[in-house]
Symmetry: D2
Subunit: 383 residues, 4 copies
């Protein structure tokens, strides 16, 4: 398998998510970080390049220079894709420029600042035929893939209702200790129309749509701002999905003591399922007539039910996998798709199982609808 | 301590909740079932009386006869209170008649069929000075009492948000297997304006108000009818409490596989708490800066923090107590209040710690507001 | 169903286990406490009788007087059985006297102080044909009954191994705070040959034998005395059962922070099971080839698998039952057995499902073997 | 930070643990796989080298050739350390040859086939001054490091007892489905004197010694062979540690349905702790007088209590880390130690926090004592 070369924007020294992208991309040994514009400060960018063992010539200070220089390299030598890990408001221009320069893109979330930009990217992806991935981490977990396949196989019967919660406490804590650093999150110019819904509500919505295979069609949202910022730090949303399915989405960044508690329950008329990101190796299936089943990552019966889950499993059962591995699964499928296209093969459904530009568009529509609903006084608003 | 004599309406052979009332009332040995109108069928009523070892003279076929006959007995011999366990729509007339006849009342939930009746009962309780209890079971759990006392002591800081869920699956299951029996639940004439919210949503609301000490001031509700009955079988409600606290209440009787999963999370700006009725001996307290604490029923540190919890504990830690004991705690405090009044003492706050006629009025207001909100198209409605 | 009359020895004011016996016996309404020798102090005994609403004539100061007086009452009026809740070292003489006077006996554990006494009682029970129950509480839990029935049905395949743990911390805590009160537990004259193994190790052994249907044939024990008493406060035991099954039993009263953590794992060659007394409504079944199953108390599928469990269930699924109900289940089956015999019927297997004098003999043999093994330097010793 | 070059023996295509070593070594980006003798089949070795993007010149067919060729390369170009992932019986000769050729070694467990070899390696490490790591994975978990630091800080008071369990079911399953492949595990020539104790019992013993800081001084073991192999597949061991601490170790590879359930409880006279490898981000601390505390990975309070845990944390709280990260932590500290020595600095205690040759010697002594104890009829045997 060809080792793909990855360029990165952002991910300088001390940047958390940029490092996660590198760890995830490199995990299976088929991606090599080869170039990067890690920091707008040239010395810090070079320093990061040095730490990563890069050729200094391929360490840049901005994405424009990087795109120009990499484009000039012969194919096979230049980077195969670019991972965008810069601040949120730069995702769109950088992604656009990468696509226009002919590079595949793996983009950190949120994809853009608004729906118009998202749709523009979507068109560009379609036009260029390039591969575009978006880091909605949580659908990378194998037990989430199993959940999706169970729903698809009809194990739950007809879906009735979805309850998805994503409470965190850190923003409240941050506000209590270092108000400034929290600021960009709640600055519309840097974060777009929403903080809590944009940052984590979209993850919850994406997870619900991924597992059920159903689109959210309208929302009735009640956003709150507990911490005095300019944007919401808490959002409670009633949902309507396709096919008459209802739902509730509860997101919060001020729920003291909650860590990253993305939890979903999908209720069907035969069975229901429960998954909790903080205990990710287990999928619980309940019914009124049978004992609860706890499906455990890494077992043959999981792979038999869900090839997508089986494929995204690196260690035997009982040897837990977690966040980084979920992240890596998206890189795995994303790069396998690039490789397939390179070989003029049509990527398989399993290879294409990573969040796409379409998910990014969905996310922006969701944010827009939620914010509009809340502003209009908590009324039903189409997505 | 004087053993109180209990009369019962309902609770005939095979009636689940009537038997629970008897077990709970008798648990501590200070209540004796002495009389009853267990069944409208005279033979079945007598048979139940026989099973309970009652004097056949004190087994009646209807509450009117019972009230008349018991009133005629000398004080000390006649029943001290009447436990109402008949079908929902009869609670009000029976309770009213009992109070008018001078009997204390322990009433199964729902108290009445609507708000007007509830307020009428409330006036009657006030006027008569009699003791009136309502069986909102779940505030009888010692760890719920501890939760209340933690909030009161400020351990959570300022409350921000409440998320309370009460999913069950049984109505869906029942509808699938025996449609007729499910019918009374969804018949407005027998169940009032709501099924799911009336039956379990009020428990959830009552629990939230009890723990936080805050009233729900308005609701925005989305009721559903999945099973084709005349009343809601699922309800999702956005909440506003006093003091700017927000909340979400999710109730359902069609959540396949859920048993009786009343779960509450109360989020404060310092700490948050979590309690789950199906694992009732543990109260979880989380914060951003300390390890999670799991408070465990029966320990000295629980009683030290919450005398109300300590008082309602029968077995040492690790020897779990559960539903019947929670139920019994309400009987304990209810009967202690009757005894205190009998001795012309003012009942203490601890003795008065059982759901009252005021909770019944709150419940009816809550149902009314929720139903109205949903009918008007999911708009904010004052409670 | 005839309400049986219960006499009690012990269970005076403030006595924990005596009160538990009364609550359990009365729970289903088919037992009435009618007589008692609650305390050797006549005033305190009378006071307890008064609290319980007893006729003062039937409140005694010692069991001998009680037996004589009750025997003199006409059948139907005198007590049907006697519940022995006095200090451990009195169990044998009281039980013996009760049997000799023709009374059925429910005896708190331990049955006797040694094996000889136990075997003497066993002979007496056989000779008199009376009903004798022993309060090994934990086999009263419905999920333990389910476990037994699963093993019996072959669901686990051939049993390979049993690991049973029973750690508590209270004795260490007690020793730290009130050394004197702890003393009787560690006084051989009052507690017999063992403290920890006698008090809780026998529960663990009994649970293992009950679920597997296999007898422990030999033991290799390592007893410890951490707190400086005269008897063991900790015991770790290797086990051999019939049919080549091996096991480990870990018991402790000095495991700080443990409450009453009786936990058992039974491993078969097809499946294995796990049950934890502190979370008693759930039975976990695991295998190498299927998802874990969590069987939940109160469901139809439990009763279908285990009529013994179904029969010992009072509330619907999700409405947890716990320690007192487990205790009550033994009283239920014990009294049903008495009733069956009264009607000249052979008690059914379900009615006979309560710990018997044979379990008491097993317990004494187990203690003897464990103590001997430890004294001889941790060598294999036959039970 | 200098990127270290890693050579590998074993880890060919399809080899599970070799791939885990590579993932773990590469995780933080400071190790590059540069050379390898992946397979004795030259074509398969080359193929693996190709997959890994290696220079074919540095892909070898056996460790002797690799050591010779790498030694011939200039410093800075040749590998910095060799990761040994070949079958168990080859660990010793390869490790010895590596050390003699001047290469640092990270060795997969078990270190050797017996105690003599282990002590020989220990001498060689001492003599050469090279860095030697051994992959006892489980002490790499941050919450295990926290546990160690809690014990060290006296939070548990005086340690009384350790109960460590390590049940697995896979060998039973394997034997049921593909007897041949299971064979090497139970072949003394390939696996040494023990299967179950050698493979997983040593992990459990190592974990207990690491957390408590106490050595196991003697053992009384009962080994079993359920599956008919030549070596034990189950072992139950009574333990004596230094300072009068007692313990129980339960290990099994025939516990159907168990995955990799390494669980440890350490009981002190003030507090006790519990950790479970299958739920690795949480450390439970219990006491008789306080609520249970659940310490959660990634929080500031963890790093404050245990710098060793803080240092081995890559993602924020609530973003779980698991097996691969624990593995990577050993590589991190191992390579930091190499780098420190390279810079002529004394490695810090934190850098030296990885299993060493001394742990390997302890492991061999433990196996020897356990096997001897069991053979002699389950008698106490010094370690």
């Amino acid at each position: 398998m060809r080792i793909l070369k990855m360029g990165q924007t952002g991910g300088g020294i001390g940047a958390f998510i940029g490092e996660v992208h590198r760890k995830a991309a490199r995990m299976d040994g088929y991606v090599q970080v080869t170039a990067g514009a890690f920091d707008i400060n040239p010395e810090r960018s070079l320093e990061q390049g040095k730490i990563l063992g890069l050729d200094p010539k391929r360490v840049y200070t901005d994405y424009k220079t990087m795109l120009k220089a990499e484009s000039a390299l012969p194919k096979g030598e230049r980077v195969d894709f670019i991972s965008i890990c810069t601040p949120n408001f730069t995702h769109f221009p950088i992604a656009k420029a990468c696509l226009e320069a002919g590079f595949n893109v793996m983009c950190e979330k949120p994809m853009t600042m608004n729906r118009q930009e998202a749709e523009e990217l979507q068109k560009l992806v379609k036009k260029t035929g390039l591969t575009f991935g978006l880091l909605h981490t949580y659908t990378g977990y194998p037990m989430v893939k199993l959940a999706k396949d169970m729903v698809k196989a009809g194990d739950l019967g007809k879906i009735r209702k979805v309850v998805v919660q994503y409470p965190q406490g850190w923003l409240g804590q941050l506000a209590a200790t270092m108000p400034l650093k929290a600021a960009w999150r709640t600055d519309p110019k840097q974060s777009g129309a929403s903080c809590c819904i944009g940052d984590i509500g979209t993850h919850a919505a994406n997870l619900a749509e991924y597992i059920t295979g159903l689109k959210i069609t309208s929302v009735l949202a009640d956003l709150s701002t507990y911490l005095g910022g300019k944007l919401d730090d808490n959002g409670d949303v009633l949902l309507r999905f396709e096919k008459g399915v209802k739902g509730v989405l509860v997101a919060s960044q001020v729920s003291s003591g909650e860590e990253n508690a993305l939890r979903i329950r999908v209720y069907g008329d035969k069975r229901s399922l429960y998954w909790n990101q903080e205990d990710p190796c287990y999928l619980h299936v309940i019914s009124d007539t049978e004992p609860e089943q706890v499906w455990k990552r890494g077992n043959a019966y999981v792979a038999a039910k869900s090839p997508a889950a089986g494929r995204c499993t690196r260690t035997p059962s009982g040897h837990p996998e977690a966040f980084l591995e979920a992240f890596a699964n998206h890189y795995k499928n994303f790069t396998d798709t690039i490789r397939a296209k390179e070989l003029k093969k049509k990527p398989t459904e399993l290879e294409l199982d990573f969040p796409s530009v379409a998910d990014g568009v969905r996310g922006m529509k969701f944010i827009e609808a939620v914010v509009a609903s809340s502003k209009k006084g908590n009324v039903w608003t189409k997505v």
